[in-house]
Amino acid sequence: MKTLVRNILAVVLSLAVFGIVVFDLAIPEEPARVDDSALLAATTGAPNLVSAVYLGARLYDTLFEVLVFTVAVIGVRFYLLRRSSEAPSASIPESHVLQASAQILYPLILILGVYLTCFGHLSPGGGFSGGVVAASGLLLCVMSIGADTVYRRLSGAGIERLEWALPMLIVAACVLPLAFARPALSNLLPVGRAGHLFGSPSILLLNVLIGLKVLIGSWMVLYAFIRHRGEI
């Protein structure tokens, strides 16, 4: 049953990515211009032009970047976490100074990661850097309470299922405009008032999805390294 669901999901994902390529070519559209900054900000509602480019006009590139990242994480997980069932290497306790300072710092770093992700369309940042910053925060969390505790809590929160759901959601956000007779990879949600947090909801949505994806993916990679190289 589980395998069947997984296979169906894989087929849907491939078809969706394939559909983007085919339908995007089938629906003739003006090529999105990235040299006119006023037009770009108006169509996406994002004052941060970098976000407007990579999550608006050039979403196509970003989509495949996310897929490449997903494949990389799958590779690390496959080779490191599944490779051996031998007992994890003995843990080396962390110094108290590091533990105490990590405990103070990690909530702040996590919040900074959330901020960078959510305000990516207004100021420098975005899903990729915000996700990595939040992953560094998780790393500090690991230093203060231990890798296995963090892993257990995150697994309890269903992080693995979310990790598999996120690429699907990102692809869905790219494909869904087709259902409203608009080209794939265009704005899914209507543009609001420029310069506000919800001024460009589609970029905000993509940033949050990508940020979560990068956070969970980086955490999986880090955890694989920790398991096979000793405690942080």
């Binding site: 941060n48 100021s123 420098p124 975005g126 910053v133 560094s136 790393l139 190289r229 000793g230 942080i232």
Partner: protein, 264 residues
């Protein structure tokens, strides 16, 4: 403008410095610093998005992954129990002949020396499980065949302590240095005058000889012994390198200096 030029000029300098670091940890920190300066350069060139990503990935995440990777490989992990004069904790620092030797050897290999105090009886077990690189702390007996013993660096002898009531035993040639737990606890046991039957090497025996041992029979076992290090099962290369280093120390007289300094 000046700040940009200074940062740009700093980049190759930092890269070069971290390239020529012998300690791997210093090289990794140098790379993190490089990323940080690079991020500042991006910022001054009006690319804050790239700067944020560079700082998050280059300075934080990649540095941590490297530190994780060299955590095991960048260290020379030595397990030993304390032996006064050879390897002992004094004021939070390890001192002794073996510490000096291992310190120089680790520096020669570009590794960080990390010494963990474990019970003397567990040193060989830990090495057999591959959880440490070298065993030290006054190892004076032949290890199991799968472990690699280095050449000797100091002669010693074994001394056996028995409760006075016990009958005298024959001088066993295969006797091993054996006592329960840590050496630091052993002095407590002897002070309490518990009846124990233990075998100690000369350095440890000299360290406890200040304690009143009138309750014990003290026999010096006649078979001569020497102190050496022991390398793990698959670390024949490490044994050979350490042997070469010890030969060198003996050749230029440094070993004698160390012995004079620590064992007056």
């Amino acid at each position: 403008m000046i700040a940009r030029a200074v940062l740009l000029a700093l980049l190759p300098v930092i890269a070069g410095v971290s390239l020529f670091q012998r300690r791997r940890l210093s090289a990794v920190i140098g790379m993190g610093l490089f990323s940080l300066v690079l991020a500042a350069t991006y910022l001054l060139h009006s690319a804050p998005d790239v700067a944020v990503t560079e700082a998050a990935i280059g300075a934080a995440l990649v540095t941590v992954i490297y530190v994780l990777a060299i955590r095991r490989t960048g260290r020379l992990l030595v397990v030993a129990d304390e032996v006064p004069g050879l390897l002992a904790l004094e004021g939070g620092e390890f001192v002794g002949i073996e510490v000096d030797i291992l310190d120089g050897f680790a520096r020669r290999l570009g590794l960080d020396l990390s010494i963990q105090i474990v019970p003397h009886a567990d040193v060989e077990t830990i090495l057999l499980h591959g959880e440490a690189d070298l065993g030290a702390g006054g190892l004076s007996c032949d290890p199991p065949a799968t472990l690699h013993r280095t050449r000797d660096h100091l002669p010693t002898a074994l001394v056996r302590l028995r409760p006075r009531a016990d009958a005298p035993e024959a001088d066993a040639r295969d006797a091993r240095c054996a006592y329960p737990g840590y050496f630091s606890d052993l002095t407590e046991v002897l002070r309490r005058r518990d009846p124990v039957s233990i075998t100690l090497d000369m350095a440890r025996f000299l360290a406890i000889s200040r304690i009143d041992l009138s309750d014990c029979n003290v026999d010096r076992l006649s078979a001569p012994r020497t102190y050496a290090f022991v390398a793990g099962p698959r670390r024949r290369d490490l044994r050979d390198q350490l042997n070469a280093y010890l030969d060198e120390l003996e050749g230029n007289g440094t070993l004698d200096d160390m012995i004079r300094r620590h064992l007056p």
